[in-house]
């Protein structure tokens, strides 16, 4: 192994990257863009859902109930209408996600000590949101209902307290229940996948496509020197991007960081080896850049996006898919990232994720090394 030759290959690769606007864009602009995109753009929280109200009675008591809805941060009472047709129009065109209809005999029934039903009409096109809204609405009404019950009991001279059994919740790890905190650490896995998918997978394919490979293999440089020399710059770029993303996450998005930087560095390096080896292998078997990038997209990037648990929880997936995620390196990296950022899990306990990652890294490194031959055919 000649260090001179290896460095020559690495230096050339750096020149290619720097002189190609697209790859430079991927190195510098992409990580920041992805962080901002997912940090701000993707918001799984539900706040201020537009609600229309059709108050058939318009009494003091119905207004009272409405105030409970208004004071909840989950709802935003957008309009008060006076017909069912207005309600259905609003739900149709999406101006309202939910409509509350208070019946004409609301206070009448309550005053007579009889139960009454409030109608909630929900747009369930997005059933996740709908479920949450129904839950919130029921909670609000339940709260109001308990209040009424207490009043009734007091009127009969029974002194009672609020509900006998209550739940006190404390949220660990993501105190404000902000989805961005949950998502952002996983964006690192996405960034690494793009580096592997798009950048690295082009490297060997480009030499074949442009015809420079033929001259390259006529020199004494070895296959190992070519591989290591070409991957070294991408490794440095990858680690650099990890640092950049971690900085943005912590300093800008205020994502808590409770683990150790050493653990972050080590696990990122492992995942980077996986992604680079895979990218290199794809670059060898695809003889041109277009095919290489397509394969990389399918095999590296999309699984990282959809199945790694970065955005969609693995536990919610069908069992078959859950089993598939076990052979996805990205899944383990995302899991480690969340543990390091949010839970501060001690490094020793990360082995459940790090060991599979290391195995993948070793396996793919071997496959990549053996795939490339200095031969024309």
């Amino acid at each position: 192994m000649s260090l001179t030759r290896l460095i020559a290959i690495a230096r050339k690769e750096v020149l290619h990257i720097v002189r190609d606007a697209r790859s430079l864009g991927i190195v510098i602009v992409m990580p920041v863009t992805l962080m901002l995109l997912f940090g701000y753009g993707v918001n799984l929280d539900l706040k201020g859902m537009p609600v229309y109200v059709y108050d058939q009675e318009g009494s003091q008591q119905s207004q009272d109930l409405l105030k409970h809805f208004q004071s909840s941060q989950y709802f935003h009472v957008a309009r008060v209408v006076d017909s069912y047709s207005a309600v259905s129009r609003a739900l149709d065109d999406g101006s309202a996600r939910m409509a509350i209809v208070i019946p004409w005999n609301f206070s009448l029934q309550l005053g007579a000590g009889r139960p009454v039903t409030v109608q909630a009409l929900v747009d369930a096109t997005d059933d996740n949101t709908a479920n949450v809204l129904i839950g919130y609405a029921q909670a609000v009404v339940q709260g109001y209902s308990s209040q009424i019950q207490l009043d009734w009991l007091r009127q009969r001279g029974i002194a009672a307290e609020t509900s006998p059994v209550s739940v006190q919740t404390r949220t660990w790890y993501n105190e404000n229940l902000e989805s961005s905190v949950f998502i952002i650490p996983g964006v690192l896995a996405l960034v690494m996948s793009v580096i592997g998918a798009f950048l690295t997978s082009l490297t060997i394919a480009r030499e074949w496509e442009r015809g420079t490979m033929e001259q390259l293999i006529s020199t004494p440089v070895t296959a190992m020197e070519i591989m290591l020399g070409k991957l070294a710059p991408y490794f440095v770029i990858g680690m650099f991007d990890v640092a950049v993303c971690a900085f943005i996450a912590i300093a800008w998005f205020k994502v808590p960081f409770r683990g150790s930087f050493a653990a972050l560095t080590f696990s990122s390096a492992l995942f980077l080896v996986v992604v680079l080896a895979l990218g290199f292998y794809i670059s060898v078997i695809a003889k041109n850049q277009f095919t290489a990038s397509q394969i990389a997209l399918l095999v590296n990037f999309l699984p990282a996006f959809l199945l790694s648990g970065f955005l969609f929880a693995i536990e919610q997936m069908p069992v078959a898919l859950q089993w598939i995620t076990r052979i996805l390196p990205a899944r383990y990296y995302v899991s480690v990232l969340k543990k390091i950022f949010l839970k501060g899990t001690p490094t020793a306990m990360l082995s459940a994720d790090l060991v599979p990652l290391a195995v993948f890294a070793a396996l793919l490194a071997i496959v990549a090394t053996r795939s490339f031959h200095k031969r024309l055919e």
Binding site: S2, T4, R5, I7, A8, R11, K12, L15, H16, R19, D20, R210, G211, T212, E214, Q215, L216, I217, S218, T219, P220, V221, T222, K374, R375, L376, E377
Partner: protein, 326 residues
Amino acid sequence: MTEPLQIEMGLAIAAEGLRKSFPGVRAPDIRAVDGLSFNVRAGEIFGLVGPDGAGKTTTLRMLAGIMPPEAGSAVVAGRDVLRDPERAKHWLGYMPQRFGLYEDLTVDENIRFYADLFGVRGKERAPRSTQLLAAAGMSEFRARRAGNLSGGMKQKLGLVCALIHRPTVILLDEPTTGVDPVSRRDFWRILYELAAEGVAILTSTAYLDEAERCHRVALMNRGRLLFCDTPANLKSQFGKDVLSVTSPEPQRLRSHLERAGGVSSFVLTGDGVHLVVDQAARRIPEFEARLEIDHVPFDNIQQVEPTIEDLFIDAVAGEEELNARD
């Protein structure tokens, strides 16, 4: 490093029985190289000449150690290229048919890259690259990106990168295709100087007339060797004579001479005809008489030296027709 094996015989390249086939796509397998044997001596410019598909590129790739042959042996710069290609590559310079350098790197960066790959240390690289670039007339283009060079300059840069490590053998695949005539001369001047220094040069070309520039040529067709000798010997051994007739009405010449006795090959050029006959001395007066009788205008009938193309066509003519009817 082990001592070069063939040095006492002065053979820089010794190829024996090389064979290579490629799987056919919806067609039978193609025998690209079919039992090729030839030698190249140190200080010799040896031309591998033949049309596209003759097997020149495949042969060069096998000798460069980047494509293993099916059968045969090749010893280049004293090393067995088939068993130990990597060892041989230290002494070889290879220039592929398609420009093999990096368009987004400058001339200097390309040279440095290849110098590093061949282990040429900085102290030696600087003067050597200066000298080579000056010989190629490219000294003022060092900082220019290779992609912005003209075709002729790209080829010269390719040659410089193949020479930076002082190889004893260089393999060039159609190095002057598409190059303007002036750059072509520069290129050949460099080759002649290298040959004078003892470097063995194997170059391929599809231009049969370029064969005249080589010390020895091997004419190839369909993977096989037709002849192998100096151009002068090949011509003197031709056995037929070549005539050239100029005329303002070449088409009329054709109808009168094409099927005349003794004519084995006939081609219409822009301002006359070029024919291969059995005996010039006999046929010239015959043709002159014929043309005068029929009042066909012509300037004169001259005997000219046969071109390599004449030799090639004569050797191949019948074979091509047969092979095409598949």
